[in-house]
């Protein structure tokens, strides 16, 4: 079985896809594309806000489309500054790489402050 577990980190404010960075890749990306036949699993989500707003984990079936359609599969709502979220998934969020064009991103919306998120992500061909 092939498996790579890594942590991505992003921070941002306002509305939009968060720029993510990690020790395993150079620079930043605003989504993670899933190789065909593999799966992306989100095992843990850690987030903090300094104002009301939401952070969503979203996927698309075609990140190469001119305007990809993003679907929310996980959402954390903050109502006040200083709120934190720590979610450890017993069974992870799983997104399949059906065509190799699927991708996952973290999206901030309705933000009145700044937000930080860490995701423990695995790309694997295992169940």
């Amino acid at each position: 079985m092939t498996s790579e577990l890594f942590t991505v980190y992003g921070s941002g404010s306002g509305t939009g896809a968060m720029d993510l960075q990690s020790d395993i890749f150079h620079g930043t990306v605003n989504s993670i594309r899933i190789p065909k036949g593999m799966k992306l699993k989100v095992w843990a989500r850690r987030a903090i806000a300094d104002g009301a707003g939401t952070i969503e984990i979203q996927f698309t079936h075609d990140v190469t489309a001119g305007t990809p359609t993003w679907v929310t599969i996980s959402k954390v709502v903050f109502t006040a500054a200083g709120e934190q979220d720590l979610t450890l998934y017993k069974r992870p969020i799983k997104v399949m790489g059906y065509s190799g064009k699927e991708a996952v991103r973290a999206y901030v919306s309705s933000g009145s402050g700044s937000y930080s998120i860490e995701l423990d992500v695995e790309i694997t061909d295992g169940d």
Partner: protein
Amino acid sequence: MNLLDKYGLVREGGLLTMYLPATSRAFVFRVKARANKGGEVLNYGPLPTATSDTLSTYDGGSVNPSVDGTLPARAYTESIKFSYENTSLYDTSDIWHVPEDYRDRLFHVITHVTPEFLRVGVEVPSGVTQTYFQRTKMAIGVTGDWGFSRGKFEMLHIPKLGVGYRFGNDTNLEVYTHVTFHYAEYIVEVPTDPQAIFDVLTGGIPSHWVAMPVTFYDATIKSALISTYGFEGFPVMPKWSKDQAIEVYNALVSAIPMEVRG
């Protein structure tokens, strides 16, 4: 006792069969000793990519690594050899490359690359594709949709035959890479007892089989086999052809050089 150790390498005294699909022939080796016992892990470091390299991408363009050692998003390498800057080596551009007079040595190499989702494949010899679909109708492999491994590749490196590795990254991440080799430098002999050879090749005697990624029998491969071992391998024959097999093997063993005769 298991033939293999925790790294997937053959224990001393064990048998290793190198099978060549292109010819349906095989070599049987007995591992007399392991020259690097206890030192099987070689943390090589990043892939030897450089910012000056121009790599093709799965989307039809090309890209340069932003920093040395990364594999850019959607990019794949050409044939890579693993160099090491020590002038004592036979070939500093390829640590697994030795001449035919090293015939008593055989490198069994299990390459691990991180991130594990990277595609891995080999070219034997370097620059020659060995992965095809529908005979040779369509080349596949790291650059295609299938015909590759991810994260790991098992290979036998015989003397005089340079092998190239290719890596591919079908994510959108420019990844930092690391290569770890689990390897054994076997000191080997080739059994000369036709009955024992037959028993190994028909499964009667346990042996670790490595099917070499050789589906196209390039002249370089043939030349390396003959100059190293004196022949092209034992034909793999069915159990019901025992008498014929013994006769064929008996004729072939006379070509095996003295240094590796078992």
